[in-house]
């Protein structure tokens, strides 16, 4: 081909560099049932639902206290309903699960170094547990004395 023809041919075609399509495998909606630690992750996230359940029960208690002693007695009766007891037992499990997983994540979220060496995870998580115990005892004392 003559050089002029070659040049005009090159200008006529717009070349782009070759790039393959990104590989995006389709993920099933049930991916989290595949492995135990996936399920554990989802259960940990769902613990937030039971935290919200506790908040709602607390709001109901406050409303009952504002309404009078009969309302308070009715609230306690409601809490004695077997289905509510079951809900609260399940909620307690999940709420404790939240607390334990939350405290145990602290050393990973904020690695503590002293004198160049990494402080052991248990030592970083321990103060949270101590604070939890102290606060819980204080609240129980305040309510039950």
């Amino acid at each position: 081909m003559r050089p002029e023809t070659l040049e005009s041919t090159k200008r006529a075609v717009n070349y782009t560099p070759y790039h393959p399509r990104w590989y995006r495998p389709r993920v099933s909606v049930y991916w989290w049932l595949g492995e135990w630690h996936y399920l554990k992750f989802i259960l940990r996230e769902l613990s937030s639902v039971f935290v919200a359940v506790t908040v709602i029960e607390t709001l109901m208690l406050i409303r009952a206290l504002r309404s009078g002693p009969d309302a308070y007695a009715r609230f306690l009766e409601c809490m004695r309903n077997p289905w509510v007891v079951l809900l609260n037992v399940v909620s307690l499990f999940f709420v404790l699960f939240h607390t334990i997983t939350w405290f145990n994540l602290a050393p990973s979220a904020m690695p503590v170094r002293m004198a160049g060496k990494r402080v052991p995870d248990a030592l970083v998580a321990a103060p949270s547990y101590v604070a939890w115990l102290v606060i819980s005892v204080f609240v129980a004392w305040l309510v039950l004395r």
């Binding site: 909606v29 996230e45 029960e57 709001l59 406050i62 306690l76 809490m79 939350w102 604070a131 039950l144």
Partner: protein, 117 residues
């Protein structure tokens, strides 16, 4: 500068709510959800609880106890729906239902705790 995402704001609420929930929710649930109704411990009488509820410090404490864990739930549940059920295409309605729900709960808490007769 590139447009900043608002995610950090909601994440802070999630984080603060998570701490409050971890420290305080278990004892409250144990006491008022199980131990007192089922008679494991003696039920505090009404007057004593009402006296506690009247204290401003207690009402502020209860407001924090109710609102921050609700926003913790909102954020966590929103992302559980995105990742768990893969419904990111519904993100606007999920956003409104989650944070809106937490906001409604916060308003109810403020209304109940504003003053106690």
């Amino acid at each position: 500068m590139a447009k900043q995402s608002d995610e950090a704001f909601f994440w802070v609420l999630f984080s603060a709510g998570g701490v409050v929930a971890a420290l305080l929710i278990p004892i409250h649930l144990f006491l008022f959800g199980l131990a007192i109704p089922l008679g494991v411990v003696h039920a505090p009488d009404y007057e004593q609880l009402l006296a506690l509820l009247r204290m401003p410090l207690v009402r502020i404490y209860l407001f924090v106890l109710c609102t921050l864990p609700l926003f913790h739930w909102a954020h966590r549940f929103r992302f559980t729906l995105y990742d768990g059920l893969k419904v990111k295409h519904l993100n606007e309605i999920i956003f409104v239902l989650c944070y809106g729900g937490a906001l409604v709960g916060s308003i109810v808490a403020a209304y109940l705790l504003w003053n106690v007769p």
